[in-house]
């Protein structure tokens, strides 16, 4: 019954989406404005139904209902409940249902909470959101039904990939999807504004909180995903330039550019057409990413060709929505009036440069991700790996970081070169001192990119707090603090990346229990190796004692886990976090009788990478709350004033 109810809820939601689109279209184009008042309730109902369908799928997983195909292929009755729960979206159909749920709920939120947008544009936006949702409903219902039954039901399920059996699965994919699909709101806003020809500062102010919200979640999702890969894969790396990772980075790059250009539009009424274009690009990147991850094309073009139904479906959706939005853009861009002018030396220019560099990085990552697929289609096997991305995207990203110092210290509209130079003097001096000091201490010992990374990170750290200089800190608006914290987060993250690649010490040994391994100032006593059993796994666990400079020893337990369903071995690294870095121990295989492989890394300041990511998201949250609170305060004061007169 639950599965049927879920399917019914989905069909109902899809028909409501169709109704929502029809009401908005007829209401706006046909001038039947009385129909428009029904759009918002329909959007809310549609969002509620998707949430119900998703909750029902979760219930099926929690109850291990083995008459449902998806549960059989992805779950097992012996799994801990957290992984039954999170396993709901650890597969194709479930994650696509999560996708439409986020889209439906985001649409409902726009219907309920958006107050700043003009009514016409608001309705057009909801129509746009329904139009995108419809395509993904069709995909779910015709090509990826999560509620399909299996008859006869097997005794038990096939289990979930053990690499996914980690608390990270409960947090990372939903957060990422909220951000990823949240960008659909920006897309719909852009479509709505193009349809009603209302692209201006008020439109940008209405769109900004939605972009910020999606961007914050996307930032958190990527940060969490990076840390998850770092500790779960046992490779000691935090970013692999894997196409799946690039699929989440590309929307983030576009959303970051959009976030900055929408601020220019909201503050100065400039960059109108460009901002609308970016809003279209950002969600397009989400869809491209979904196509890459969900079509099977990454495994190989041939695997895609073998089972092309899903891939072709998403490709068609991509074509229709991106093509449609670009066509609408081309058709209506003439109606978007030229925005306000600005001088060459101004914050607007700095933000244009920011957008340009972010777009270049986006383009480079996109080319690097798609190039192997294109050459493979023509019969050449090519891999594009870390060397390409580091060499190409690295320098552009570092340049962008330098612009990040300049931007906030330049005035809107017009500024003087001499003034800007004076304001950036301190960060630049810090950078220069760091450059000389590092050159003396470590020249030739570390690579060029980590070297420049450290220098620029220090300069940006100082530069990011410089806008607070000589300001009354208590009267500084929260959104200014948000910008400062987010930019500081970039510097912190960059410093972590540079430290990790410059100073990591690695040791690889085969040791017997009882032996002592020394590396990077740490003494590790390998005490013993013991078998261990968990809910649905057995493991070999090494007991190690780590101590530094004769300090108190700390226990560490790296494991090698064996899962029976499906039969897989995973490594569970042991991490010891100190303020100045992380000790990372992996237990390998038995080398020969009695000797075990141990891989030990000392990674100075590696945790800064994710702390930085968290600060970036925190800065975004402060900006969001700051802006919204100012809006509420202004409204509240206006109402008070009205009441006083009345």
């Amino acid at each position: 019954m639950i599965a049927e109810a879920g399917l019914a809820a989905l069909w109902l939601a899809a028909s409501l989406a169709l109704l929502q689109l029809a009401l908005a279209a007829i209401g706006l184009a046909g001038g039947k404005t009385e129909l428009l008042s029904a759009v918002r309730p329909v959007a809310v109902a549609q969002g509620g139904l998707t949430a119900i369908a998703f909750a029902l799928l979760i219930a099926l997983f929690l109850r291990s209902d083995m008459s449902v195909l998806l549960v059989v292929t992805n779950s097992h009755s012996m799994k801990p409940w957290l992984y039954k729960f999170a396993g709901t979206w650890g597969n194709h159909e479930g994650s696509m249902l999560l996708w439409v749920t986020v889209m439906g709920v985001a649409g409902a939120a726009v219907a309920l909470f958006e107050r700043a947008l003009r009514r016409e544009t608001h309705m057009a936006t909801l129509g746009g959101q329904a139009a995108i949702s419809l395509g993904f409903y069709a995909f779910l219902l015709f090509a990826s039904n999560p509620f399909a039954r299996i008859d006869p039901p097997p005794a038990d399920g096939q289990g979930l990939n053990p690499l996914l059996q980690d608390p990270g699965l409960a947090f990372h994919p939903p957060t990422l999807y909220l951000g990823y699909v949240g960008l659909s709101v920006a897309f719909s806003f852009a479509v709505g504004a193009l349809l009603t020809r209302q692209v201006d500062a008020a439109f940008a102010r209405a769109m900004r909180p939605w972009v910020l919200g999606a961007w914050i979640l996307l930032t958190l999702g990527i940060t969490a995903g990076s840390y998850w890969a770092y500790y779960e894969l046992g490779w000691g790396g935090w970013w692999f330039w894997d196409p799946v990772e690039n699929a989440s980075l590309m929307p983030w790059l576009a959303a970051t550019a959009l976030l900055h250009s929408v601020t220019v539009l909201a503050t100065r009424d400039a960059l109108r057409a460009w901002t609308v274009m970016l809003a279209v690009i950002a969600f397009s990147m989400s869809m491209v990413g979904t196509f890459l991850v969900r079509s099977g094309i990454l495994t190989s073009v041939h695997a895609f060709a073998v089972d092309p139904q899903r891939g072709t479906f998403i490709l068609a959706l991509l074509g229709v929505y991106i093509g449609g939005a670009l066509a609408l853009f081309g058709w209506r861009v003439g109606a978007v009036r030229e925005g306000a002018p600005f001088e060459l030396v101004s914050r607007e220019t700095m933000l244009v440069v920011n957008n340009l560099l972010l777009s270049v990085i986006l383009g480079l990552v996109l080319i690097g991700t798609l190039y192997p697929l294109m050459t493979e289609a023509f019969g050449h096997k090519v891999s594009v790996g870390a060397p390409y991305f580091d060499r190409i995207a690295g320098p552009v990203a570092l340049t962008l970081m330098i612009v990040m110092i300049l931007g906030p210290l330049t005035r809107w509209r017009r500024d003087r070169m001499r003034e800007v130079t004076r304001r950036i003097a301190v960060p630049m001096a810090v950078g220069a001192i760091a450059l000389v000091a590092l050159a003396v201490l470590a020249w030739g010992k570390i690579g060029v990119l980590p070297f420049l990374g450290l220098v620029i990170a220090l300069a940006v750290a100082v530069g990011s707090v410089a806008p607070l200089w000589k300001r009354n800190l208590r009267r500084t608006p929260l959104f200014t603090w948000g910008m400062v914290i987010a930019h500081l987060g970039c510097a912190v993250s960059l410093a972590g990346m540079a430290c990790d690649s410059a100073f990591t010490v690695e040791k690889l040994v085969a040791a017997r229990p009882g032996e002592v391994v020394e590396t990077a100032g740490w003494t590790l006593r390998f005490k013993q190796i013991l078998p261990l059993a968990g809910d649905n796994w057995t493991a070999l666990q090494a007991d190690m004692e780590a101590s530094r400079d004769g300090g108190e020893p700390v226990l560490m337990h790296p494991q090698s886990r064996f899962f029976a369903s499906p039969p897989t071995t995973t490594t569970e690294a042991a991490l010891l976090t100190r303020w100045n870095g992380q000790l990372y121990v992996v237990l390998g295989q038995e080398a020969d009788a009695g000797r075990w492989q141990l891989r030990i890394w000392w990674k100075p300041f590696v945790t800064l990478i994710w702390l930085g990511g968290f600060l970036i998201a925190l800065g975004g949250a402060m900006a969001l709350i700051g802006r919204e609170r100012r809006g509420w305060l202004l409204k509240w004061r206006a109402r008070k004033a009205e009441e006083a007169f009345a």
Binding site: T299, F342, L356, K381, V396, L508, A510, G588
Partner: protein, 148 residues
């Protein structure tokens, strides 16, 4: 400055930036195009020692040897056309075994042995290195099997 001039300057700067980026990408991709090698390619084209590449093929049955240090392994990689010796220091992935496919990152040393710094294996439910097409993933036994 007039608005027109200013737009022109911005457009020119943007154009220069994009062209530079495009050229950079093109040059890097040209290098990258020669990044993946099967043993047959190595024999036919030759790879200079020290150049970072990816080597992909099958691990020859009976070729796997463990070195006395306990963390180094030696094995041969073949694609049916040629066979090259390789060695790897580190913890090999669980799916790495004789008779199965492997993609190794590293470089050849002067003696012609491929020194691998990393062995790639699949790390997701249905995802494995795309270079290993033709080497199939058996959904039932969760092992890779050699394809046609």
């Amino acid at each position: 400055m007039k608005a027109k001039h200013q737009r022109l300057i911005l457009a020119v700067v943007a154009l220069v930036a994009l062209i530079t980026a495009g050229l950079l990408a093109a040059s890097a991709l040209k290098d990258e195009a020669a990044y993946f090698y099967a043993p047959g390619d190595v024999k036919a084209k030759g790879v200079e020692p020290g150049k970072p590449i990816r080597l992909g093929g099958m691990v020859v049955k009976g070729s796997l040897q463990k070195a006395p240090d306990g963390v180094t392994i030696h094995f041969d990689v073949t694609d049916g056309k040629a066979t090259v010796p390789a060695s790897f220091k580190g913890i090999a992935p669980d799916l790495f075994r004789e008779g199965s496919g492997v993609v190794a990152e590293g470089a050849f040393d002067r003696s012609g042995t491929f020194q691998a710094s990393n062995l790639l294996a699949k790390h997701d439910e249905r995802y494995m290195p795309r270079e290993l097409q033709g080497i199939q993933y058996d959904e039932k036994t969760y092992k890779m099997k050699a394809g046609q």
